[in-house]
Symmetry: C2
Subunit: 351 residues, 2 copies
């Protein structure tokens, strides 16, 4: 603990202790204090310890604004987060933090809250803050053209990118593979009459890709069929509606396998079918979802799901950014596409 009463000097404007105070107290030059903080290995141990003791005794807090101004760089990476409530995005942040902390970088987050104006204001803010780089999962998967100058001035990596780009590094999820993996899992279990639930396809590239993947998988198997039941959104109540529709069908019109485009949708389907019919998962119908939200695990029937690689996406994006920072001359932008993976649970393989 710092004993404030014993602090001898505080030359800073706001009564704050400066490096100069520390230097005087330790009997060294100010540059030495800076070296102790930034390149401690190159300082004689006895002097280093003396400086460290003075820092402690005076309660010195470095001024990062001054550091950044003098050095022109910072060891901070800014992450623009699209939605605090969506675990796909918060997983990305977690992954990014993991990679960053290994490299001794700080990660600070700005929440754009699914608002393109806020997204821009945080991009600008981080730019003005002189961060060393930016990670962003932009709304719509693409940086708006008006914000392009930010990406040109400062290393920036796009997460969950919707398009190929040569302006910066990017990481994407292979949603076609997600749909294919889900359908192939059902087909591998012998299911042939499949339903793909989710929509609207026209408004979401990710959903359209998942449907495409499922169609591809079904096309590869003789006698297999895929019906698309579209929904307004992919929330629980949309799933309940799908489940209710299915519950009223004749047994021979019923699918034996369902790919749900999202976990909450799958949750609703399970709820509707278990409460309003005698159909059983997975005996009568096998169900696989996409996303791996916690809800899939917490469902009354734990739901098999295709995990979107949120955390991997964050760590990969941060790795690309760190590479760019380490070697900006030689650096060539890369676009990495990540494959999702299947987690099989009771809704397809029973217990």
């Amino acid at each position: 603990m710092v004993n404030m009463a014993s602090v001898p000097t505080a030359s800073g404007k706001n009564g704050s202790v400066t490096m100069l105070d520390v230097a005087h107290h330790a009997g060294v030059a100010i540059g030495t204090v800076s070296n102790v903080l930034n390149r401690p290995d190159g300082v004689t141990p006895s002097i280093r310890d003396r400086v460290l003791a003075s820092i402690d005794e005076l309660g010195f807090v470095r001024n990062r604004a001054a550091s950044k101004l003098a050095a022109g760089v910072s060891n901070t990476v800014g992450v623009v987060l699209a939605d605090l409530a969506n675990s796909y995005f918060t997983d990305m942040v977690r992954g990014a933090e993991q990679s960053a902390s290994k490299a001794g970088k700080f990660v600070v987050i700005g929440n754009s809250d699914i608002d393109i104006a806020k997204q821009r204001s945080y991009l600008t803010f981080f730019d003005e803050e002189q961060v060393s780089g930016i990670l962003v999962a932009p709304l719509g998967g693409v940086i708006p053209p008006e914000d392009g100058h930010i990406a040109r001035q400062r290393p920036l990596v796009i997460l969950d990118a919707a398009r190929q780009t040569h302006a910066h590094c990017a990481v994407s999820t292979n949603n076609v593979a997600a749909g294919r993996i889900a359908a192939e899992h059902l087909l591998g279990l012998g299911r042939r009459r499949l339903v793909f639930a989710g929509g609207p396809i026209a408004r979401s590239r990710a959903l359209a890709d998942r449907l495409q993947g499922a169609q591809d998988a079904v096309a590869d198997v003789e006698g297999a069929t895929l019906e698309h039941m579209s929904t307004d959104e992919v929330q629980v109540h949309d799933g309940r509606r799908v489940g209710a529709l299915l519950a009223h069908r004749d047994a021979d019109a019923l699918p034996d396998g369902i790919v749900a485009a999202a976990d909450l949708l799958a949750l609703g389907i399970v709820q509707a079918l278990t409460s309003s019919s005698s159909y059983r998962f997975p005996d009568d119908i096998a169900l696989v979802a996409c996303d791996d939200n916690r809800s899939a695990y917490d469902s009354i029937v734990p739901i098999s799901t295709v995990d979107l690689p949120g955390q991997k996406m964050g760590s990969t994006g941060m790795r690309l950014l760190l590479e760019e920072l380490a070697d900006s001359a030689e650096h060539e932008h890369q676009h990495i596409t990540l494959d999702p993976t299947l987690t099989a649970r009771e809704s397809t393989i029973g217990r």
Copy 2:
């Protein structure tokens, strides 16, 4: 769009455009550029527009490191977030952002990820970054004594505070009231044989308070009883265990009302009782939970819940911080306790 080819000057170290470049381009003094950016109202409109045009044309990006160093302050508030995956905390951030944006402040987030060392490193980081203030929901509800010097140097407000303190402003949830409100709701519906599910009480002040509140409410009603069924944690599987225990009881030993200490716990109770018994919600058993996670709404039987005021806590905390910043001389620290509110759903009032 900025046409980079037309940029005439860039005197900054990294080829960046500085205020001086803007001043030259607009034919004014550098101080005038600063005024346009920081106090635009006091600048002659024609000159202001000329400066703004130059800023746009040159693609000038202000350097916040330099601003902070020269001014000694920033318009940024740092929020140390305990857990990105817990909606109680992310709600706080949302509330804080709402209050902050009205006041023109930027909010940046550091994720401590339920790690006391990371919590400290972000507190220190924000301190070093010269933020104008800090909002933190510290682990355990209290700032560790070792980190006390941070709170002494910089305005800081504690969210979800566990204790009264005179060192800074703080906001708390009234967990006793939460328990009381939940129990009173059940008692008001005529239920008399209540169960409080959740634990361990010894390790969580919040849970202990909720139990206390429920006990208080029951003590006020003649003939009402409360049984405490403790759990290891408050996850879905703990709830399933409670539900399984209840399902095996004789009908006359069964409660007619349950207060679940958390939403996931309630979710498990509903799942276990609907699948392994013929008991019905709310006819046989009425159930009310605490937290208002999304899961309560998404349950097969939508669960009544006592909302913890996460968003309100964030906005209130930010308001206290802004007051302290606006008038640090006259400021007196306050501790505000927020009452939770009940959201009644199918699990207690049917449909």
